[in-house]
């Protein structure tokens, strides 16, 4: 049998159900590999001994009817986990232990999975390289000193390096799809309202969405099936009929109309990305789908719109971290002094930058020019997609304008960093589902991803397209375990 940690989620489930593997064996294997992989800095909090205990308990009386029977899983440290420290990658929550569980993680444990630990991420999910985390940079297993993307950088690194069979991230502007693309894995951002935001540390409420990150499309579909649920505790959760995403998964996409938006051919896009996109078009054609050129005319405005809306919401969402009730508190002469010191010392530079941008765009006198206008543009961006979907079933684009870059390469140039999200951000603004799949390598051997964007609630369709393409692409991640001595 294949090395346990090299198996996909689906294989592990099969082997546990066939009693070829116990949950304890599987959990121990991932714990051991995680222990040997500390250099990646993927974990913020390890919960390994508890995980092994839970696995043993599972094996005593295994319920094999569950969808994730005894499967160990580490999750992004933005999900509140009961009695397990939850930091959001920030000093300000360095000592925060929730007494409650997020709906998404609860759904996962309800299906038999076991928490391995909490994965590193950009502070409050604000970043595209995992470099804003208070707990340090995460290494991309593809190559040393390469960023794993962000904000779900610990998650992408952990799945690519096989420290966890599968994981969940959150995606506000690309935080699942971009790191998935940088590490050669699959990442799905579901439709806004598909997964409950209850218990997820908020960044930008109207954009945040949890989603699965996996080694392949089938695993991704399975985890999506588990985490997507209507939740009364989240007023923006949507009560729609959810598919049985795995059972309905098919590689038959004959006759599907795939749109190619011309506006995504951005200036200075590397030829490698251009070529990858062309290859992607050929793959879907091979699968019998029809290619249709489309226009999403307001694409250019997506990034500036995002960098108004997201910081505005963040500036308000992060007001609760004031040192009064929980988390880090700095001593101060008086209340205001305590606030100022707590927030200056507790938040990192990128978070402070975004709070300031957000505060500015909401200020009286600027609100109409920035926030209100951004909301109007957001509507136009959504209308673009609505128009396009009258003609096509899904849209194919690159996931990112480049492959992974080196740690430190872009830290002093926030705008260049923000440009990483250029292909992913419109999807969040329009509330649509998008999936990134590994589709090839650049000259350096770094993975590159393609994104398939779907209609709202049409995750099944983009999963199917991704599934069909995956078969054609037959991507193999080039990982040498360089960090294991």
């Amino acid at each position: 049998m294949l090395d346990i940690t090299k198996q996909s989620l689906s294989e592990l489930i099969k082997n546990i159900k066939n009693k070829k593997l116990s949950s304890t064996e599987v959990t121990k294997a991932f714990v051991e590999r995680s222990e040997k992989s500390k250099e990646l800095n993927a974990y913020v909090t390890e919960d390994f001994s508890a995980a092994i205990d839970k696995a043993k308990k599972f094996d005593e009386n295994p319920n094999l009817d569950l969808k994730l029977p005894g499967i160990p899983m580490a999750v992004k440290d933005l999900f509140c986990t009961k009695n397990v420290k939850t930091t959001a990658g920030s000093k300000i929550l360095n000592n925060f232990i929730p007494t409650y569980e997020s709906t998404v993680t609860q759904n996962i444990w309800n299906e038999g999975a076991i928490l391995l630990g909490k994965l590193n991420c950009d502070e409050f999910a604000m970043g595209s390289s995992n470099e804003t985390s208070f707990f340090g940079c995460v290494q991309n297993p593809i190559d040393k000193d390469l960023v794993p993307g962000g904000s779900s950088g610990g998650s992408s690194s952990a799945v690519a390096a096989q420290l966890t069979p599968i994981t969940i991230g959150t995606d506000t502007g690309g935080s699942i799809r971009q790191p998935a693309s940088f590490t050669g894995i699959v990442g799905l951002k579901p439709t806004y309202g598909s997964c409950s935001r209850y218990g997820i540390v908020a960044f930008a409420s109207s954009l945040d969405q949890a989603g699965p990150m996996a080694q392949n499309v089938r695993d991704c579909a399975l985890l999506h099936e588990v985490i997507s649920s209507y939740d009364e505790k989240d007023s923006t959760s949507i009560d729609f009929k959810r598919n049985n995403y795995v059972r309905e998964l098919t590689n038959n996409i004959k006759g599907k109309k795939i749109g190619i938006p011309k506006e995504y051919r951005v200036d200075a896009m590397p030829k490698e990305i251009e070529d990858l996109w062309k290859k992607g078009i050929d793959y879907v054609k091979d699968c019998g789908a029809e290619i249709i050129d489309i226009s999403l005319p307001h694409t250019n405005y997506a990034l500036p719109t995002y960098y108004i809306v997201a910081p505005a919401e963040a500036s308000s969402n992060l007001a609760r971290y004031d040192g009064v009730k929980y988390g880090f508190r700095a001593d101060g002469e008086n209340l205001i002094d305590m606030y100022e010191k707590t927030r200056s010392e507790g938040f990192g530079a990128e978070v402070q930058r975004r709070i300031m941008i957000g505060t500015y765009v909401l200020s009286s006198g600027y609100y109409d020019a920035y926030y209100l206008k951004a909301q109007k543009v957001r509507k136009l961006i959504k209308n673009d997609f609505d128009e396009a979907y009258k003609k096509v079933d899904a849209i194919l684009t690159p996931s990112t304008p480049s492959s992974a870059f080196k740690i430190g390469e872009k830290t002093n140039d926030p705008v260049s960093m923000y440009l990483n999200d250029i292909f992913t951000v419109p999807v969040n603004l329009a509330g649509l589902p998008g999936i990134s799949i590994p589709a090839g390598h650049d000259a350096k051997g770094y993975p590159l991803g393609l994104q398939i964007i779907g209609k709202a609630f049409d995750e099944q369709n983009i999963l199917n397209i991704a599934y069909a393409m995956e078969e054609k692409i037959n991507f193999k991640n080039k990982i040498t375990d360089w960090w294991i001595k």
Binding site: A202, K233, S235
Partner: protein, 487 residues
């Protein structure tokens, strides 16, 4: 607006100033649970025992609107004859304070749930209409307690997230008297509706008072000051009186009034500057992305209309038309729901005129003396009704009735039993009365002779004597008749 003859004016030398007042009333919604969480709203619990994860703003916690509070706000809107907005939006009002866990208050800024309406005041000089600008729903903050420790402030989050209705009046009020009538009327309407208990001691009703002055006859408004968070009608009136005079003095002195927020110091009876317009917070309002716009259907509103009881204005009209009580009496009887209810229960089986007099007179005085509400009255409506019937059918005199009433106040006893036990029944037997009168005349032979010789004033003396001898029980009408014959 109807004619305003209130003439509350401030005089200085040759100038007369009119006072212009607008109120922002914060009324706590009567509801078991908070606006966006399921915690209890019960008053008086131990600090921080009614706080959910949402109320304490823990990471990842989300607000979920309490439908009951929405219904209550719409009902109140209907009671204020106001426009109900089928689509309203919750906004975040951002500011930092220790008792505001989220760092923002969820409120409604641009699109409130209720639009323009009106309230009718019954003033001594006639009716006055006060415009309502809007009503919106918002969360209350927690409470900071500064006096438990010399160095630290304590925070109690029990109130955090409790639903409030902010009811904003137009600047239509012109005197402390009108403010008194306005707040009482608003309170009365909400109590009829069951949407706010109006309990000012428990902080269920507070107001921010906007005051400006202008020379009489002027059409333009003066610069206003806002007096924050005044929690009794008496203090509102005192604050307005002080503030209006302060502003007039400034103008008379050739100075300008700064638009500012002020506090009313109840101990010193003065208002003090809290912050100027320049220091005003920038609340950075924006729609709360955790909540979808609130949309209600016509059907939802129509169903709520069916739940609206008869309100004070309509009830007053009915009392005047049906029971022929005076407008003055009707205003008092409908002023709160419980009183009107009590009244209607009493008159089910007894005379309206007597009932009105007994309730407004004796009962109110007695309750007032004991500081009791009508709901705490020791005398039930049924027993008051019986007492009135005993007067009406001549069993007891009005005077004896007062004695019986006093006994009833000590505990809700059947007045018939009191009359029997104490032997207070009126003597109406002519034979018994004749005997009594004969004895009185006999005992006062000289006076009887004087009367007969023309000193008619002495008739009253004889009536008094008969009543005295009978222990007040003699039927006064019969005594009169028999005495006239006998003398």
């Amino acid at each position: 607006m109807s004619k305003d003859k209130s003439d509350y004016l401030i005089n200085r030398k040759d100038n007369q100033y009119e006072v212009v007042i607008g109120l922002e009333v914060h009324a706590q919604v009567t509801s078991e649970s908070k606006l966006f969480s399921t915690s209890s709203t019960k008053f008086g619990a131990e600090p921080n025992t009614q706080v959910s994860l949402v109320d304490a703003a823990l990471p990842g916690m989300l607000p979920v609107i309490n439908e009951y509070c929405v219904k209550q706000a719409i009902k109140t809107g209907i009671g204020l004859k106001a426009k109900i907005n089928k689509r309203s939006v919750f906004d975040r009002k951002n500011y930092f304070y220790a008792d505001l866990p989220q760092g923002y208050q969820i409120s409604q800024f641009k699109d409130p749930i209720v639009g323009e309406g009106k309230v009718i005041l019954d003033m001594p000089h006639g009716q006055k209409e006060v415009g309502i600008e809007r009503l919106h729903l918002e969360q209350d903050a927690g409470k900071s307690i500064h006096d438990l420790d010399p160095k630290n402030t304590f925070v109690d989050l029990n109130r955090s997230g409790v639903a409030l209705m902010e009811i904003v009046s137009k600047p239509d009020l012109r005197s402390p008297g009108e403010v008194n009538a306005y707040v009482k009327k608003l309170r009365s309407i909400m109590r009829y509706l069951g949407t706010c208990d109006g309990n000012m001691q428990e902080g269920s009703l507070r107001a921010d008072v906007n005051v400006s002055v202008r020379k009489k006859g002027s059409k333009e408004f003066g610069t206003r000051c806002e007096i924050k968070n005044v929690n009794s009608i008496k203090f509102m009136q005192m604050a307005i009186e002080y503030e209006a005079n302060r502003q007039v003095d400034l103008i008379e002195d050739g100075q300008y009034i700064d638009q500012e927020t002020r506090l009313f110091d109840t101990k010193k009876n003065e208002t003090r500057s809290m912050r100027s317009k320049e220091d005003a917070h920038d609340y950075r309002y924006f729609p709360d992305p955790d909540l979808l716009p609130l949309e209600v259907s016509d059907d939802f509103i129509e169903k709520l209309k069916l739940e609206i009881p008869e309100l004070p204005d309509e009830k007053k009209k009915r009392f005047i038309e049906k029971f022929k009580v005076s407008p003055y009496e009707a205003t008092i009887l409908v002023s709160d729901y419980e009183t009107s209810n009590y009244f209607e229960n009493v008159i089910k089986k007894s005379d309206v005129k007597l009932a009105t007099n007994w309730i407004i007179g004796e009962l109110f005085a007695a309750l007032n003396e004991k500081s009791l509400e009508i709901t705490e009255s020791p005398i039930s409506a049924g027993n008051l009704s019986k007492l009135i019937n005993l007067i009406k059918d001549g069993t007891i005199s009005g005077k004896i009735a007062k004695t019986v009433f006093e006994h009833m106040m000590e505990g809700d006893k059947d007045p018939k039993k009191i009359v029997e036990e104490k032997g207070l029944k009126q003597e109406s037997d002519p034979k018994a009365l004749e005997a009594l009168i004969d004895k009185v005349i006999d005992d006062n032979r000289e006076k009887a002779t004087e009367y007969k010789s023309g000193k008619v004033k002495l008739f009253g003396f004889f009536v008094g004597q008969v009543m005295k001898v009978s222990g007040g029980k003699a039927n006064p009408q019969l005594v009169n008749e028999i005495l006239k014959k006998k003398l």
